[in-house]
């Protein structure tokens, strides 16, 4: 399931809803991304996430389908917020559930790595010097490349 929303989410409630009643699940992996106070060495006081409505949902759907092709998942969830966010706010949630823990752990890492280089979101950080659009990071490309299949 994918959700693109302005409002916050409740991690525990989302995990509970995802696995509700499914006793084939033996492991649930999750990742929560939050707004941190530093961008490199620069203090950050908040950020705004812009996205491309329509394409965002398509890309997240595609990414989730890819994870389900690669691992035997019982359930999966991606929630990504947009709009203005404060320090410490939750940005993104990825949850994967499987009979076996390695499938859950690996697919969760895959989803967040893949999403970071594919889903059309852009961060604008607030610093003392003003607002700046964040540059894409080579390390994110490298992390996503680990999962590439030729």
């Amino acid at each position: 399931m994918i959700k693109v929303q302005k409002q916050d989410f409740d991690v525990g409630a989302e995990i509970d809803a995802l696995r509700a009643g499914n006793t084939a699940i033996g492991g649930i992996a999750s990742f929560v991304g939050t707004v941190r106070d530093l961008a490199g060495d620069t203090p950050v006081t908040g950020m705004t996430l812009e996205h491309y409505p329509g394409m965002t949902e398509r890309e997240l759907d595609r990414i989730e389908q890819e994870a389900n092709r690669r691992w035997p998942l019982e359930a999966s969830l991606i929630i990504h917020r947009y709009g203005r966010l404060e320090l410490g706010d939750r940005i993104v949630l990825v949850v994967t559930a499987s009979a076996h823990r390695q499938a859950a752990l690996e697919s969760c890492a895959f989803l967040i790595d893949w999403l970071k280089t594919k889903a059309p979101f852009w961060k604008k950080e607030e610093t003392r010097g003003g607002e700046t659009w964040v540059d894409a990071r080579d390390s994110d490309d490298a992390a996503a490349a680990r999962w590439r299949k030729d």
Binding site: E50, F121, K124, W133
Partner: protein, 83 residues
Amino acid sequence: MRLLYFAWLKTKMGRAEEEVDPPAEVTDVASLLEWLRGRGPVYAEALSDLSVVRVAVNQEYARLDAPVNKDDEVALFPPVTGG
């Protein structure tokens, strides 16, 4: 053809979207970008380094040789930074 701009491309272009009517020579992403750069200094500057510009045609990532036509929605944006 509907053009959409995001992130710093939107800021540089001074708009989030516009309707354009490219000439017949514009048949793919490459020729569209070339035509846009010829529309004035703002376009030329915003699109000066194509290594930091991504293109989606009808909400799908598109390469330079992907075809475009007048009914398409074409989005130009920097590499994504979500997650």
